[in-house]
Amino acid sequence: MCLGVPGKVTDVYEDQGIRMGTVDFGGITRTACLEYAPEVEVGTYVVIHVGFAISVVDEEEAARSYELLAEMGNLEDIDLPQTADGVRAEDYRPGRDRRETEP
């Protein structure tokens, strides 16, 4: 029930007075309510639960904590799986996506 899936916001719009958006989950898109993530823009990753963004993924924290995890697995010389974006997990760097989506 508390399932939450991370996805990337690809569109933001208003519908009947509430902030909505389109969210891409590795190729599958769905609409979601963004009222609880007022700061998100196109390109931001959010956690979606029953059609609502309940949390914004903090990419800097994610990169930092993942580096610590990777150290635990001695992963420096091993290929990480490709993500749907074609970005390898080991290439995650703070702000990377934001830079790419900025004009």
């Binding site: 029930m1 939450g4 990337k8 590795g26 609502f52």
Partner: protein, 368 residues
């Protein structure tokens, strides 16, 4: 999928398992509260990969499992009304009521619709002004903001034929109930990450302090769970009992402020009966006075029928508070299966009994 795939890397998992094995010196019992976490732990066999000293027990974090029988019966009776449409998440449809389930209500002509979001149910109400559309609002803190938004929109847009049948429950009072229950063995908790994404973790701080239990806010992927367990074990071995956050990419201490504020506007806390466990004080949410016209329990007052009765062999209550494992039940996998469940934990995609059954664990194998 980004933020999913990389948290399933088996080499990092091995590193974390080695880390745990290198830290643990004596037996510890740890509870994961959330049923979604239970399913990942059992499906991946993580409980069996951990050092023998660590026992995982499964908590009550399955809303479908703890929704009281009386409310299931109420939903079934609403679904059978010719002037009502009952909308629900799919999980609820096969949960046994006292004599039938929502699927059976649909089979005899009840209008029961499965929706993905409470906003979908609101849309059903907008399109069917002649019927009262009732959304079965089950869930923990994670789901409350969505349900609150739906009912607030109904009021705002004047959609008068939309109502909630509220069965909301809260995690911290349940943790307290487990800690004070006789014979409690739980020494540390993995707190549910998405509940905390909404609510933050300040409510867990006095619990950790007063009961001397480490609580680690934990995510849902295998590596999240292993890291959460490693953090709890680390605290236990060092004699610490604090709230720590493993799920840093999605949770901050104060939670989601806009979501909490809408939940507070729409709902208030109330005592709530948990199926299999009993009434836990201040453990539920109900609609505030200003939203009573959207409260299905006000629109369709409950008829006092035969008192609801549970199966006599089912030990769901003990399973839900971690006092028993699914395979301790004599009916597990024999009289009780996902196709023909005696208790709700065998039905839900988050129930511990279903997790064990789906992972192919059978009574004779695990008790041998």
């Amino acid at each position: 999928m980004r933020f999913v795939d990389e948290y399933r890397d088996s080499r990092i998992a091995r590193g974390l398992l080695d880390g745990i094995a290198g830290t643990v010196t004596r037996p510890w019992t740890i509870m994961e509260v959330c049923g979604g976490q239970t399913h990942t732990l059992i499906r991946q066999g993580i409980d069996q990969l951990l050092p023998q000293e660590i026992e995982l027990v499964h908590g009550p974090g399955c809303p479908v499992c703890v929704t009281p029988l009386a409310l299931i019966d109420e939903a079934i009776s609403i679904a059978k009304r010719p002037d009502a449409i009952l909308c629900s998440f799919g999980d609820m449809l096969r949960v046994p009521g006292s004599s039938e389930d929502l699927f059976m209500a649909r089979a005899v002509g009840g209008d029961v619709r499965v929706v993905y979001s409470p906003l979908d149910a609101l849309e059903v109400a907008r399109r069917n002004p002649e019927a009262t559309v009732v959304f079965f609002a089950v869930g923990f803190e994670t789901t409350a903001p969505a349900n609150a938004m739906a009912v607030r929109q109904a009021k705002e847009l004047g959609i008068e034929n939309f109502a909630l049948l509220v069965a909301h429950v809260l995690v911290p009072p349940a943790i307290l109930a487990i800690l004070v229950s006789p014979g409690n063995r739980v020494q540390g908790f993995l707190a549910p990450g998405h509940v905390c994404a909404v609510q933050g973790w300040t409510e867990y701080e006095p619990i950790a302090r007063d009961f001397g239990v480490p609580i680690v806010v934990t995510g849902f992927e295998p590596l999240d769970l292993l890291e959460g367990i490693r953090m709890v074990v680390g605290q236990l071995e060092e004699g610490r009992h604090e709230v720590e956050n493993q799920y840093v990419r999605a949770v901050v201490r104060g939670g989601n402020v806009p979501a909490r504020s809408v939940v507070d506007e729409v709902f208030e806390t109330c005592d709530r009966a948990w199926r299999g466990i009993g009434v836990i004080p201040k453990s539920g949410l109900r609609l505030r006075e200003a939203y009573r016209m959207h409260d299905a329990e006000v629109l369709f007052p409950r008829t006092d029928g035969v008192p609801a009765s549970e199966s006599e062999v089912c030990i769901a209550g003990d399973v839900l508070i971690g006092r028993a494992k699914p395979h301790d039940c004599p009916a597990f996998g024999t009289l009780c299966t996902p196709e023909s469940p005696l208790g709700a934990p065998m039905v839900s995609s988050e129930g511990a009994c279903a997790a064990y059954f789906m992972a192919g664990r059978r009574r004779e194998e695990v008790t041998a």
